[in-house]
């Protein structure tokens, strides 16, 4: 019998332009990119030089500190460019697609492999980075053994893709193989968390070798951090791994077919999208090839991921390693005359200080305007309303700002990631960059513990 959790705290941002349950088919692009900044804390070390030929699965770069963690090319072709930013930090490794060749990692029956052999295969193929760990929400340490593995079967973020629709159109047998692989990596359980508010896809419901639980409630009820907190919380010294739903399929394919074919279905959504819908793409696809002919003209922000946690890639960027959504919203570069004093019948807010809280609209077009200046912490008791965990957000933020390691530990730094507090950042009337504060706290902890 599976357990159901009903969460009350949280908030659904009613952003317009959600994707319809139709697919625009498979989309390919000329260029594909792997972005080291997708992996916080990573220092990449290049394995190839521009001009080198690669296959899908060829290692492009490795983690300088743990060189066994490899990052692979999503397609076959030629390594075209290494784009760098400030201090020569590598921002993108770009591959020009040519042909359709794969590195052969060999088919394998997961039941016959040892745990070490399984890990080796994942590491060699470049799929390892798909496995992340709590604490810290970074790429899992291959030498550790997690007490459990979590897979979130739904996403509650604004305009998030409907995972039931995606799984209905995905190969069930590969998903099952992926689950079997993950089950071999832990001595504990593999948890699959499904949306308690909808009828889950048959692929999800019929999966074996997993412990299914149901969560329902407003965002962030779909965040894996929230699931872990309620089912198997991370205490000091403990490790839990988590994998994105569609990456489980890629893992399954690696073992069933022996190739690194890291594809997924993504949604193109947002108020500036003409016809929001789903596409099948390879990891790292150029955003332009998906969005170009399906978005309005104007000053737009194109985001890989959702509006709360995604990254601003622009039209020339690439899909993030962990993202299955491209959101397009208008930029908000305008002055609003007495904007703070207006009754605000059309202004979307978590607070009840605008008339929109009485005259509710179903959907709102939201832009990137800050709607105010940066101020000190003044209001209290707001963050708590959007954090469905037994954690005191304000006290945790302050402990991080004070760099108080012991307080951070006590207040739950091991359990959290930026994404779990993205809503705090959204609702904050003082416009404080809370996700940056959390990442800063995590970095302090990593440094302290190493």
């Amino acid at each position: 019998m599976s357990v159901s959790y009903k969460l009350k705290k949280g908030f659904d941002i009613r952003l317009s332009g959600s994707a319809k349950r139709v697919t625009g088919g498979e989309v390919t692009s000329e260029l594909y990119g792997v972005r080291p900044p997708d992996f916080p804390g990573l220092i990449p070390k290049l394995s190839l030089r521009p001009g080198d030929r690669v296959k899908a699965g060829t290692t492009l770069f490795v983690d300088k500190i743990r060189p066994e963690v490899r990052f692979a090319s999503p397609v076959s072709g030629i390594l075209r460019a290494v784009n760098r930013g400030e201090q020569r930090r590598i921002l993108e490794v770009v591959v020009e697609r040519e042909g359709d060749e794969y590195e052969d990692f060999g088919k394998a029956d997961v039941t016959r492999l040892s745990r070490e052999e399984i890990k080796q295969k994942l590491l060699m193929s470049g799929l390892w980075p798909a496995i992340r760990q709590r604490p810290y929400h970074i790429i899992a340490n291959p030498s550790s053994t997690p007490k459990s593995v979590f897979i979130s079967g739904f996403d509650t973020a604004p305009l998030a893709p409907d995972m039931n629709f995606i799984m209905d159109n995905s190969p069930a047998h590969l998903f099952q193989t992926g689950l079997n692989v993950l089950a071999r990596l832990t001595d504990g359980k593999v948890h699959l968390i499904l949306n308690g508010a909808t009828e889950p896809s048959a692929v999800l419901k019929n999966s074996l070798n997993v412990e299914v639980s149901y969560f329902s409630g407003p965002h962030p009820a779909g965040n894996v951090g929230v699931h872990i907190h309620h089912i198997d919380p991370v205490n000091k010294g403990e490790v839990v791994w988590c994998v994105n739903l569609q990456d489980v399929i890629a893992i399954g394919r690696l073992f069933d077919e022996g190739i690194y074919h890291h594809d997924r279905m993504i949604a193109l959504a947002g108020p500036e999208v003409i016809e929001p819908k789903y596409y099948k793409v390879r990891n790292g696809i150029a955003v332009r090839s998906v969005a170009e002919n399906n978005i309005h003209k104007g000053d737009l922000r194109i985001i890989s991921g959702n509006v709360l946690t995604g990254s601003n890639t622009g039209i020339n960027g690439f899909l993030g390693f962990y993202d299955s959504l491209i959101t397009v919203i208008p930029e908000g570069r305008y002055h609003e005359f007495f904007g703070w004093a207006k009754p605000g019948i059309n202004k979307f807010s978590f607070s009840r200080t605008f008339l929109s809280s009485i005259f509710r609209k179903k959907e709102y077009t939201l832009d990137t305007n800050m709607h105010g200046g940066r101020r000190a912490f003044v209001m209290t008791g707001m963050y708590e309303k959007v954090v469905p965990m037994d954690i005191l957000p304000m006290q945790l933020f302050k402990a991080i700002l004070a760099e108080d390691i012991e307080a951070m530990e006590n207040l739950g730094i091991y359990e959290v990631a930026e994404e779990d507090f993205a809503l705090c950042e959204f609702i904050c009337p003082s416009k404080i960059e809370i996700q940056s504060i959390i990442r800063q706290g995590i970095e302090i902890m990593i440094k302290e513990m190493s």
Partner: protein, 391 residues
């Protein structure tokens, strides 16, 4: 609006770094962002942000204060014309009160905002909106006849020593408006207590009808004149002498409703202050050692500054308790102490101000214990898991 925007954009370079009026940058930004919400866009973290900002938050509090302020203006007139025994119409009374109160508001804002502007410029910050509320609270909690220079001095004291030395808005320990009142209370007690200061013109004593007393209900009780108390209805509506904003319980309750519905004021603090007051009032009723203890407990809620303090002072998020559990304790203790000081201490007819300031000091301690309890619970969770794992 476009022409105004153009003008601002034209003069803006003079106020930015390296410009002619660089020293006035914070002031310029303050005025600009008052007129226009800035055009800044998100650069990291969440790409969209809530439309609420601190200006909106503070303006909700100001709107919530308006009923008490408008009633106060009318009541100033009412009390004055009563004291001279003259007849006057509604508008006449209101106009009289308006003219009396306006200088107080202007002096407070000019003094306080002036200091805030300078402090913001020194720190290189944008101007914080906190004083917009403080600047309206101060005139509402002082006697109407207070000399303006005293008010200016008290405001400066509250802003500089009560707030800026701690690091400005968000960092202060004491509620700034109450700091100003406490400053006046202890420096110029003759202007803050007694029977004459609460009604406009009474201190000068001109044309006052014989035997008229301007004593507040609390003063009457402290002088053992419980029989002279106004009726409960009068005290609830607020047609009694007292500080400008505190007399009308009903106007304050309208403000409380605005704060609670919008979620800007903590309903937990407001209700727990009232609960604490009722608890202490009932306790004194049970003891009944003197006439003051015997007055019905609900009288305490409508007399003096109890309601005003509960709704507008105790709810200050910066100086109050910051944990949700802590808010219950914090509010309850304010209620208890207010009534306790009122009844037991003969030197201070009113206890709300001291109760809130005292609890301002204890709020971090309350929070400390709430957070420690939270941490213990979390550690226990870790141990329980460890034990089940071993089995």
């Amino acid at each position: 609006m476009k022409s105004l925007r153009k003008k601002i954009d034209k003069i803006k370079p003079h106020f930015s770094e390296g410009g002619k009026f660089e020293k006035l940058r914070s002031v310029f930004e303050g005025f600009e962002s008052f007129l226009f919400v800035p055009d800044t866009v998100t650069s990291k973290g969440s790409h969209i942000r809530d439309t609420i900002d601190l200006k909106r938050t503070m303006s909700v509090v100001i709107v919530a204060l308006l009923p008490a302020m408008l009633f106060g203006m009318w009541n100033i007139g009412l009390q004055h014309y009563r004291s001279v025994g003259a007849e006057a119409g509604f508008l006449q009374m209101f106009w009289f009160g308006f003219l009396k109160l306006l200088p107080l508001i202007v002096v407070t804002y000019v003094t306080g905002l002036g200091i805030e502007f300078i402090a913001a410029q020194i720190r290189g910050h944008e101007i914080n909106e906190g004083f917009l509320v403080t600047g309206l609270l101060i005139p509402l909690i002082v006697p109407i006849d207070i000399p303006l220079w005293m008010l200016a001095l008290a405001t400066a004291f509250a802003v500089i020593l009560g707030k800026e030395v701690f690091g400005g808005t968000g960092m202060n320990v004491f509620n700034p408006a109450l700091t100003a009142r406490a400053f006046l209370f202890f420096s110029y007690p003759g202007w803050m207590t007694g029977d004459k200061v609460w009604i406009a013109g009474l201190t000068k004593g001109k044309d006052i009808i014989d035997g008229f007393s301007g004593a507040t209900p609390l003063a009457l009780l402290a002088q053992n004149h419980a029989e002279a108390l106004p009726s409960l209805k009068e005290m609830f509506i607020g047609t009694i002498p007292g500080s400008v904003g505190e007399t009308s319980t009903i106007a304050i309750l309208i403000g409380a409703a605005i704060l609670i519905i919008t979620g800007i004021g903590s309903w937990k603090i407001i209700t727990s202050v009232f609960a604490g007051g009722i608890f202490m009032g009932l306790l004194f009723n049970l003891i009944g050692a003197n006439p003051y203890m015997e007055i019905p407990f609900y009288y305490h809620l409508v007399m003096g500054g109890f309601a005003f303090g509960a709704v507008f002072m105790a709810t200050d998020p910066v100086t109050g308790s910051q944990t949700e559990t802590g808010k219950w304790i914090y509010g309850f203790m304010i209620g208890v102490l207010s009534i306790f000081i009122r009844v037991v201490n003969p030197a201070y007819p009113e206890g709300v101000m001291l109760a809130i300031l005292l609890m301002n000091v204890f709020a971090p301690l309350i929070d400390y214990y709430v957070v420690q309890a939270h941490i213990r619970k979390r550690l226990k969770r870790a141990k329980v898991l460890l034990n089940t794992a071993e089995k």
